[in-house]
Symmetry: C2
Subunit: 398 residues, 2 copies
Amino acid sequence: MNEHLIVLSEAEYALRLGRLQQAMEPAADALLLCDNANLYWLTGRVFAGYAYIPREGSPLFGLRRCVHLTAPGAAPERKIEDFAARVAAECPAASRIGYETDVQSYAAVERARAAFVAQWPAAEAVSAAPVMRAVRSVKTPVQQQMMRESGRRHEAVYRRVPQLYTPGMSDIELQVEIERLSRLEGCLGQFRVAGGDMELFMGNVLAGDNADAPSPYDFAMGGAGMDPSLPVGANGTVIHPGTTVMVDMNGDYTGYMTDMTRTFRLGEISAEAMRAHELSREICRTLADAARPGTPARELYDTALRMATDAGLAHLFMGHRQHAGFVGHGLGIEINEAPVIAPRSRDILAEGMCIALEPKFVIPGTGAVGIENTYIVRADGPMECITGAPEEIIDLDK
Amino acid sequence: MNEHLIVLSEAEYALRLGRLQQAMEPAADALLLCDNANLYWLTGRVFAGYAYIPREGSPLFGLRRCVHLTAPGAAPERKIEDFAARVAAECPAASRIGYETDVQSYAAVERARAAFVAQWPAAEAVSAAPVMRAVRSVKTPVQQQMMRESGRRHEAVYRRVPQLYTPGMSDIELQVEIERLSRLEGCLGQFRVAGGDMELFMGNVLAGDNADAPSPYDFAMGGAGMDPSLPVGANGTVIHPGTTVMVDMNGDYTGYMTDMTRTFRLGEISAEAMRAHELSREICRTLADAARPGTPARELYDTALRMATDAGLAHLFMGHRQHAGFVGHGLGIEINEAPVIAPRSRDILAEGMCIALEPKFVIPGTGAVGIENTYIVRADGPMECITGAPEEIIDLDK
């Protein structure tokens, strides 16, 4: 890695900065970014510090660590107060400054706000969250390529899952072998989630009825987990004939992550489970065909639910004992970006959005079935699927 | 896992709750906890929801998900507003409510504060952070046992590191094999850090001069990492003769994590590196011997720095191109709990605190050397070391 703070090409940086400054109008006339994911989005590198982005002109950067990094407008500043003083010396006064109220702590936002008010007493505080959420939801061509590359490697790992299975394995034993293979394939491991509520280590492997164990996290599927400190995912269930294993593992190979789920089985499973799995594939195809720039996200959810209802499977759709209230989500740097594909979502699809669709079913006595793919919204025509592993239920023992 | 919200024994729950209510005096007369780590500390289980803890009497719990969980005072409440209404109906009005201003987002704290002010217009908002930081820093005997169990399994993994090495391996390849072994030994993987700034996946393996690459995170050691989205740790360096490999991997086996570092080498390394490594061991012994309830944390730091200075190694102590400003830290549920062993720390040691000491050195041309152990502060006598793997530099190829 070089010693430039801005890792992106000049053109890419200009593109992102331009989109950001345009999106700020009329909500804010400057943003203060400190969050790792937002700084990575802007510069192509995670660093410790601050970025002040005026609606016009060049950003300023304050470096809390890694003070050897260089960029126009960058200087070492451990304290936000020092950074705010330099901003005030070099920039015209901002009347509305957007802070990351959704991902920075109360204490951090209050301190930053006070630092800027000390410079500019009239500066009003607004939230940067809607601006960042909107601008990050639409991926540039460079970001789309990083998503595709993650999908390509993610797929290579999934194709080899059956080779990792040995008879008598538990869900967690299989998961550990998938983790190892993923890491050797270049998976960075880091599973970024906006906000501190959702925790998951490397992904979710659900065997049999453990798929029906409710979890405290807002993921599509649950699982009891190995320990009450992390009650999600594999719980040590030995994989039994007549049950499924749902594999939903980390796809962060480039800093931009894909989300992909495939279902495996041991021996024959019930006709209902097979039917629900095929319905999941059909829902994905239908939604991918229907999604265009301008499509309301909630319409996709409604279509998915209607298809599940028409098939008599609504009670098993997105869970059984506990249901998830969505069928898909935006993703990229973090797993929970905009848009959200949910009944009350106000998000509207736009070209370049990256969306994971995961219409899943939980069949009591069998386990979870269904697939998940990551897609890119195209200007015209169906969404592009970037997670291409085979979609049918795959036998672990053949 | 059972369906009780409170997983702890009655006695343990009463002990923690009693300590918490005592610590609230005089700062707050009620706390609102929503953070996963704080809820886990209180109940022994991570759940999605709210806990309201009055200074006297029993807590109330609101469940956002997993509404099947049962406890006295628990009810399903998706919205904080509904929970606040029940609290107001069942509890006397609180005049100062402590919110998690250090770990909850600005938006979440503001929403919770408004919800309680709607019930009790006179309720003042204060920070729960100092109370939670203090009470979590002292581990109960049950928590100490969980720390010891993590240390025992952590140690079992470290003893087998040389068996994982094969000639020609890179740092990341060795790390992946340690990750796999750790996970098979029961490591939960989750690396909990308070606040959103510090990110690390499963730990840090630093080979040769990569140990000298500055990182944006506030860890003792850096490393360039594999990608600018996660610039820390292994960077793909092939392990060369004459260099060291520092292994500092995740010790979360029970929900309570130990921190342990050991140094490995390939072939002979410089006399200076060997001397610095022995000094690290000596600093650990000296600090462990000196630490008693009542010892100021900064005195331990001063002692460590003086020993490094006396040995002519201060310029390599806790880094070379970039220095970390501490030599140890409290830990348990999260890696960065109180106390912090740093020059300006105001923390005072108390019986039952768990502390990692990591006096490390970076030797240019060789790599990082030194050790890290986790200790428990005892009532009298030296701290108890709970990470007992051999401390000498270990040959990878013998």
